[in-house]
Amino acid sequence: MSTPAPAPARRPLASYVVGRSGLRRPGPDAWRTAGITVLCVLVAMGLAALLVTISGGSPVEVVDALFTGSVSDTAGWSQTLVNAAPLLLVALGACIANRAGVFNIGQEGQLLIGAMVGCFVALRLQGPGWIVVTVALVAAAFGGGAWSGISAAMYYTRGTNVVVSTLLLTFIAAQVVQFAVNSPSLLQESGMGSGPARPQSDAVPEYLRLASFGQYPDLTIGVGVIVAVVATVVLAVLLARSRWGFRLNMLGLNPMAARHAGIRASRLGGSALVLSGAFAGLAGGVILLGTVFRLQPAISNNFGWDGLLVALVARSRPGLALPVAVLFGALRSGSSYLAATGVPDYLVDVVQALLVLAFVVPPVLSALWARRIRNRAPVADTPARPSAAAPAKEEVPV
């Protein structure tokens, strides 16, 4: 028999995140996916509007405020880009790890460690500004990479779950940073004579801060943005065209076949995990030297978590991560304008989470649908009726 019964697709983790190569050219599946996505985004927006309304706000005002704060003028755009850069860097790292089939969710911690190491270098290293800045950023990347490297080492020597170890290490990272900024011998500020030293580091001197081009209120573009965009282009090309990218994909989609083809998972997958941590660490360095200028326990400000969400929405494609990061950056900068409308800025977190769902659910749903059409009768339990599955998304306890 040359036509076997179509078995339900085997879908390793990576394919959930990367998407299937078959979707590259828009076929009926792609159109269906796009359709469902539009629908889901509309539902997400509807839910957000509902939330605004029950909190006594006006959805129109909220949209207006978000818009004003983010993209209505050059100042807004500047802020949006400042927010987007670290999100994008974190997302790029997540793309690499996801492609390799190792799911790193500890970017928040890796970012913190990166910021800490970068801060240490910036405050202790003497030398010409540009050299210190470069070394500090590289050190930040090393810091983040080392932190995710712990998970990589645990995974490839002992087989411990990467998701769990990166998650747990995030909380340890937070305490490491706490310790650093509470220890005068490490990074705690020397104190300006007035009052007790607070749990934060000294400010990075003026000449070590990342340059930005343009002058307020014109559009300003920081070095962080440029680094992130260049990294995106390079990574997009490498993932799509290079031998390294080919091997990463192979490892993520079928580790056994990859090994048969001569790929050492511990080396390639481990380096992917380290690299993803390094990108998060670099993001930490960019935040430190670009916007916050001193190490604080809250310096990560959820950039790690949100960057990971950006990668999920972008389905691990750097090219898509760029616009998504800008969108999430715009939501962030817009949120500071929400206060005037009386709607809590936490709305933005809700919207982001709903957006992620709206982009993650449709491809899966669409594949399920396609299979159902192919084998008309449902297999006993597994596939849900699409009509039953879609509302599941809305059962969010509001």
Binding site: A7, P8, R10, R11, L13, Y16, V17, S55, G56, F103, M154, R158, G159, T160, N161, V163, V164, S165, L167, L168, L169, F171, I172, Q175, V176, Q178, F179, N182, W305, L308, L309, L312, P344, Y346, L347, V348, D349, V350, Q352, A353, L354, V356, L357, V360, V361, V364, L365, L368, V379, A380, D381, T382, A384, A388, A389, A392, K393, E395, P397, V398
Partner: protein
């Protein structure tokens, strides 16, 4: 003197253990069925919020407590359907749910007014007088629900057919499927139990211990619960021991300044995570972990 201090620390440790223990009963059961549920944090947080919201609206913290459990269940329903019905990666779902719940509860907290609402103490006369251990018998009453929930969880997993099927599903879903067990139904049900218990744990935290809700009040306790299950090597006894250890570490951190003892507070906060990581590394080859943990099941997939 040390006895008093000891009693105080122990009392505080017990209070901090209880929310963990409730949620751990749920997480333990879910993991035995093969779901490494990272949204337990979101379930606890939503339970804590739901309890205060309903408790304050109805004026009855008891109603609030159970409402909190139900809210946890609703969150579990979302997670279960997304990950074990339409088969989205369970970690992605968990991540999003945690973000969503954190955002939503913080948002609602700022748009609503809640009155204080707290359940009463239950002091068992006589026993509460015992030095040191007396604190066991002077707790907010839902604390004693643990006496019901823990044995019940153990019984469900180890003595019922449902539990046998859960374990089968967590170890080898393909074989369970051909034996006629509805794998994804069982996994969804296990998550329901996890949601119920986590909601209860979160509710105990808010209407039991604190009496109000504040933003992100679970503060990573859900992740400590995951650490506890790993620490306990997927056995209930070990899991509960882990909860107590981690609760005690938390209590010590709070008590140290007043006791005048020098111990690094950051180390104590990080202790649960460090211990869990250490156990993961040491126990990696012991094969106690359910073999299909966090592996999705679809029929026809080998």
């Amino acid at each position: 003197m040390w006895l008093d201090d000891g009693g105080t620390v122990l009392a505080s440790a017990l209070r901090l253990t209880a929310p963990l223990a409730f949620a751990a009963c749920g997480e333990y059961l879910a993991e035995r069925a093969g779901t490494l549920n990272i949204s337990v944090e979101g379930m606890m947080l939503s339970g804590a919020f739901g309890a205060v919201a309903v408790g304050s609206a109805t004026g009855s913290p008891t109603v609030g407590l159970f409402a909190g459990a139900v809210v946890g269940l609703l969150v579990a329903l979302v997670h279960a359907n997304l990950s074990h019905r339409i088969q989205i990666n369970t970690f992605v779902v968990g991540l999003v749910i945690n973000t969503l719940v954190l955002g939503l509860t913080s948002f609602l907290l700022q748009t609503m007014e809640f009155s204080r609402t707290q359940v009463g103490m239950l002091r068992i006369p006589g026993l509460a007088e015992i030095p040191l251990l007396g604190v066991l018998f002077e707790q907010r009453w839902p604390f004693y629900l643990l006496l019901l929930v823990v044995p019940l969880t153990w019984f469900l997993v180890n003595r019922t057919r449902w539990g046998l099927e859960l374990r089968a599903v967590g170890e080898n879903p393909q074989a369970a499927d051909v034996s006629g067990i509805k794998v994804n139904v069982r996994r969804r049900q296990a998550l329901m139990w996890c949601g119920l218990m986590s909601g209860l744990g979160g509710a105990f935290l808010s209407v039991g211990l604190v009496g109000s809700f504040n933003s992100n009040m679970t503060a990573g306790r859900g992740f400590i619960v995951i650490a506890a299950v790993i620490f306990g090597a997927w056995r209930l006894k070990g899991t509960l021991l882990g909860c107590f250890l981690f609760g005690a570490a938390d209590a010590l951190r709070l008590a140290l300044p007043s006791l005048g003892v020098e111990l690094n507070p950051q180390l104590l906060v990080a202790a649960p995570y460090l211990l869990a990581l250490a156990v993961m590394v040491l126990m990696a080859k012991s094969q106690r972990e359910p073999r299909a943990l966090s592996k999705p099941f679809e029929r026809g997939l080998v």
